[in-house]
Amino acid sequence: MAMIDLSRVLRAHPVRPPASGIARRRSLWERLHLDPWLLAMLLVLMVAGLAVLYSASGQRPAAVTAQALRFGVALVVMFLIAQLSPTTLLRWALPVYLAGVLMLVAVELVGDMGMGAQRWLVIPGVIRFQPSELMKLAMPLMVAAYLSRRELPPRLRDLAVCALIIGVPVALIARQPDLGTSLLVGSAAVFVVLLAGLSWRFILGLGVLAAAALPLLWMNLHNYQRQRVLTFLDPNSDPLGSGWNIIQSTTAIGSGGVFGKGWLQGTQSQLEFLPERHTDFIVAVLGEEFGLVGMLAVLLLYLLIITRGLWLAAGAQDTFGRLVAGSIILTFFIYVFVNVGMVSGILPVVGVPLPLVSYGGTSSVTLMAGFGILMAIHAHRRLLPR
């Protein structure tokens, strides 16, 4: 039985059979547990991101240096995580998840306010920590760990358990309030369930249920969140208030044209009409200064990364690995889609950064840790006992 399974896997992922029974000589990359293609594309993205950041930060080298340093840290984190074996990840899924939930509860009780939301957990003098970031990884690991032990496609009872696993932390994060992160954490978990083979009837049913729950959701939104939705529907209703961001960002992108105004030449960006231009709205700087050509190039790079990621996920040894890897890479896409969609005015404003381009340390580290998991799952596939 196991043999047949393996042959199918091998057919999908043809690997050279080990030569004459001796372990095949592993390449440098394999020994490092890294995927060179993925790594190369990520590095290109980071370098491009730093170039845009230099312009978006008002040409402050300090911002670029700080970001490069964070990328360095993130790369180290990725490398270290890549060394872990999937079994380790599977073992750690539950404890990490539980720790994350506990910390979210702690944030709820004693968390530090920052930017009008309670997101930070602070041990004075030691660390400032955002438990919701940890949850971005702990969540898919936990759901995948749970589902990989059940018979798939999941049954109703399994789904109920999943709903609980997902619902508690997502609700806690949404309460902070941090709609962007709760969206990312939630979708990471949902992707696991979808990839595990949630039946179409369920998907349809959930869709209907979600539509029915919309009014309820609306009533529970904070005023500023409602305002964002209203502004999205008609940015000109409040052009100086909440509509300002989106009017200025679409103006920046649109005025860039096909070839852009040139690096450091974007008037919207350099003259500070564009708000949050080095964080969530950095893609508007890209669009203004590098035009449609620059935007398509970057989107293409993202597509390549995602395709490569999905390829690696499909090649994973077991269900747990596949689900985790698939979820991580699709969540990565959600970052890109929500961010670019919001800045270009087809989605409401939600605080989601452009991965590896927007200024910010925490999200870069989390993202690269995710790629670390991806590479761990990929690199360790042949080390698993057959």
């Binding site: 496609p153 989107l299 597509l303 395709t307 270009s344």
Partner: protein, 635 residues
């Protein structure tokens, strides 16, 4: 253990499902990315023009450069209206975090009453365009500027901005003649050329400032600047310089104007002086005056109410809007009309028994001297201001010819060339009475008009102008306030100048002048005390007017009432007789005591203008006025 679980699960099926779902995910990822790309192509290719323009508009701001308002000088180059640099307080709302706190702090720093905070709040909302400064307060003093500077770090979005503000050094004396500028109001804003007035806050409201608004204002320039989102100007992209307003040189003589104001000495009244040959207005005073500078920065409600409720009506320009019965001052003009119409000759006499009676009417129209002046010829009729002579003259002329001839001297018309807000006053006629009262004209009314009473009303400017025309032997020159606009002189011959007055015998003018000279120097002259010690030949005519209340519905006490019921004193004069250089009209309200008060003031004016180095002594004049009870003067 692992094996049993694997038996329960189906890795093959799980893999298949995963591959299906992953494939679906790839399709979805590509589709959504395609959506993003489509959106970007729409923004950057299809709508590129729209957003390019919008981005340009964001970046480039057109700032108006208001022109500097032209200065106003008197005939000797003395500055009457200047532009003083002042400091204004402005606020950009978009840059203020907490508007209430900022305004409260400002009110505290500037040591203003708390109510001002509300006024500030209203003003801070006035401008709609983002990042445009709103004017909170003008004319900050140095202490306020210093306090703002020290606390600058607490006041983001608050700026102290330099601006030129109109200033009138001799506001009280000049207020009525010059007028003043004030903030452009909503009504004016609608009719103004927005481009010309971009960036201009002030506009001429009355007087010369109003009449010559076009020339004084100039043309606004503009500059294109690149700004950042906080509205800070980063660099200039281009500019068109403003065209400054033209300077204005007036015909007014500041010294004479000031003297006239001082002569009135706090009384209500008006003095107008004109150069007969040129129509140049040397002085045009209405007293009391007011501080027109208050109106530039915006007068506060309490001060404005005080001015409006003042019984002396300081805001009322008596020189051009005051309606006074001319009294006997018009007798020389009526005599001229009689000569022109052949009703009298200079030597024809009328016997005055002390009264006049219309044929078939028992009513007696009295001379001011009860027992009469006896035989009166034309010159004597002017010198002693005989009423009977003029009753007879008016009756013989009839109202129609009387009206026509007085019309020729400008009575009942606006006579000034560049005098804003002038009133026509009233020269009555048959038509006027029918239109006004729907009644026929009665012969008795002609007699009243004949001694300058009844319906007849003149303004001080009209009386001075008629006097100038008389002094010119009938030659008309329109009175004017401006002599030069920029470098262009105002021509002597102005459009709409009335026709000159001609007499069949030119010598008759001299006979009229002779009568007018006797007013001052004749043994019977009504102003013979004023004529004592004249160093040149002067002609004049006195007049008293029964009180005509200027303001209606006034409340005042008994003492006030008595004072305000006294007659107005009038005098018109010109000098020297041979070659007139000044014509003057004086009206002193409720001066009483016949016309002597006005006569003394007129003499002081001509002395000041004609005699070199003659410093008129106001104290001495006060004494003279006190001692002269008008016992010699008649009408």
């Amino acid at each position: 253990m692992r094996k049993t679980r694997q038996n329960l699960k189906s890795p093959e099926q799980e893999l298949r499902i995963f591959r299906m779902r992953a494939l679906l995910a790839v399709v979805l990822v590509f589709a959504l990315t395609g959506l993003l790309m489509g959106r970007l192509a729409y923004l950057q290719v299809v709508q590129h023009e729209v957003y390019s323009t919008r981005s340009e508009k964001n970046r480039v701001r057109v700032e108006p450069l208001p022109p500097t308002r032209g200065l106003i000088y008197d005939r000797n180059g003395v500055l009457l209206a200047e532009n003083r640099p002042t400091y204004n307080l402005t606020l950009v709302r978009e840059r203020v975090d907490d508007l209430d706190a900022t305004l409260a702090l400002l009110v505290e720093l500037l040591e203003l009453p708390d109510e001002e905070a509300e006024a500030f709040r209203v003003r801070s909302r006035q401008r709609q365009r983002p990042f445009q400064p709103a004017l909170l307060m003008s004319d900050l003093d140095e202490a306020q500027i210093a306090r703002l500077a020290v606390n600058r770090h607490l006041l983001p979005g608050v700026e102290v901005e330099a601006q030129l503000l109109r200033y009138y050094p001799d506001a009280e004396v000049m207020a009525h003649a010059l007028g003043y500028v004030g903030r452009i109001n909503a009504e004016e804003l609608q009719t103004l050329d927005a481009g010309r007035y971009a960036g201009t806050h002030f506009i001429g409201k009355t007087g010369v400032e109003r009449y010559y608004e076009d020339a004084l204002h100039g043309q606004a320039g503009l500059r294109k600047v690149e700004t950042n989102a906080r509205g800070r100007v980063l660099r200039e992209l281009g500019r068109t310089d403003p065209v400054p307003g033209q300077n204005l040189t007036l015909t007014l003589d500041k010294q004479l104007q000031t003297l006239a104001y001082e002569l009135l000495d706090g009384r209500r009244g008006s003095i107008v002086a004109i150069v007969p040959a040129t129509g140049e207005i040397l002085a045009m005073v209405s007293a009391p005056g007011f501080d027109s500078n208050q109106f530039v920065t915006g007068i506060d409600v309490a001060s404005y109410r005080a001015l409006q409720e003042d019984l002396d009506l300081p805001l009322y320009n008596r020189a051009i809007r005051g309606h006074y019965p001319p009294g006997s001052t018009i007798k020389p003009f009526l005599a001229l009309a009689g000569l022109a119409e052949g009703v009298i000759t200079p030597d024809k006499t009328v016997f005055d028994p002390g009264y006049y009676q219309l044929p078939n009417d028992s009513r007696r129209y009295r001379n001011w001297l009860r027992w009469g002046h006896g035989r009166v010829d034309m010159e004597r009729s002017i010198a002693v201001s005989n009423n009977t002579y003029y009753y007879s003259l008016a009756h013989d002329l009839g109202i129609d010819r009387l009206h026509e001839n007085m019309d020729a001297f400008g009575f009942g018309q606006r006579v000034g060339h560049d005098v804003f807000g002038e009133s026509t006053a009233l020269m009555p006629s048959r038509d006027w009475k029918r239109g006004r009262f729907n009644q026929p004209w009665y012969p008795g009314e002609t007699l009243s008009v004949g001694i300058g009473q009844g319906y007849w009303q003149v303004t001080p400017l009209q009386l001075a102008t008629a006097t100038a025309v008389l002094a010119n032997r009938g030659e008309w020159v329109k009175p004017r306030l401006a002599s030069r606009i920029g470098d262009e002189p105002v021509p002597l011959d102005l459009p709409e100048t009335p026709e000159d007055i001609t007499l069949s015998n030119d010598a008759w003018w001299d006979r009229i002048y002779a009568g007018m000279e006797k007013v001052l120097t004749g043994s019977e002259g009504t102003a013979r005390r004023t004529g004592v010690g004249l160093e040149y030949r002067m002609g004049g005519k006195s007049g008293t007017a029964q009180v005509f209340s200027l303001g209606q519905d006034q409340k005042y006490n008994a003492e006030e009432l008595a004072e305000r019921l006294r007659d107005h004193a009038l005098f018109m004069a010109f000098a020297p007789l041979e070659e007139p250089q000044i014509a003057v009209s004086v009206i002193v309200e409720n001066a009483g005591g016949g016309s002597t008060h006005a006569a003394h003031l007129a003499r002081a004016m001509t002395d000041a203008w004609l005699l070199e180095d003659e410093e008129p002594d106001i104290e001495e004049l006060r004494e003279v006025l006190e001692n002269d009870d008008g016992s010699v003067a008649g009408n």
